[in-house]
Symmetry: C2
Subunit: 124 residues, 2 copies
């Protein structure tokens, strides 16, 4: 599964750096079929997902990845499931929040897009 882990790491690095620097730029990673569940709220499609992510009330945000695990998710195509756990640091807060996020990435034209995205904060 080495290849899957390398792709997942590259994806996650790109995703969170884009999240920090240019949230609307995440639009290239979603499609109209994409589903996101953000703290229990279910959202479908690239437009509504980017609207949600862009409206989150963070001036400045960083995801610090603690663990990253990936697995192939289908026998018929090179899709993969990725589970990330880590710390969310909002507006330079001294109290980072634990988060967990699951992605399912689908292959498309030599790259990947996010078909499933489930995000949860863990209030400990």
């Amino acid at each position: 599964m080495a290849d899957v882990n390398a792709i997942a790491k590259q994806f996650v690095d790109y995703y969170y750096s884009t999240f920090a620097g240019n949230r609307p730029g995440l639009a290239t990673l979603y499609r109209d079929s994409s589903m996101m569940t953000w703290e229990g709220q279910q959202i479908q499609g690239v437009g509504p997902i980017i609207e949600k992510l862009s409206s989150l009330p963070f001036e400045k945000v960083a995801h610090r990845v603690t663990t990253l695990d990936a697995q192939p998710s289908s026998p018929s195509q090179p899709s993969m499931i990725v589970l990330v756990t880590g710390l969310l640091i909002v507006d330079d807060s001294q109290n980072p929040l634990n988060f967990s996020q699951t992605f399912q990435l689908y292959p498309e034209a030599g790259t990947y897009f996010v078909q499933n995205d489930v995000f949860r904060l863990n209030y400990g």
Copy 2:
């Protein structure tokens, strides 16, 4: 997605109660194609997965589910992705551990099996 959430809840309740009471009984939920990543260790197939789960050094264990989110994971079949976050209580410890677990469930003959299983403890 109401149906998906109901199936996911039923699965998770059954999974963790079986985990607590009869870990070898989880064998019915995995197949030879199933993949598990347990704290970074990659394991494939029902035999090795059950061997791993049965060998975990807990006399008594309970999973307390805090959040449970589910999404359909494929356009072509009623598979689903489930993200669980919660507390793992080992041997009546007063210090439960946060955990995150992602399942992908595949349909089969009117029921579901676990194709993907990623488990992580969050050390906070």
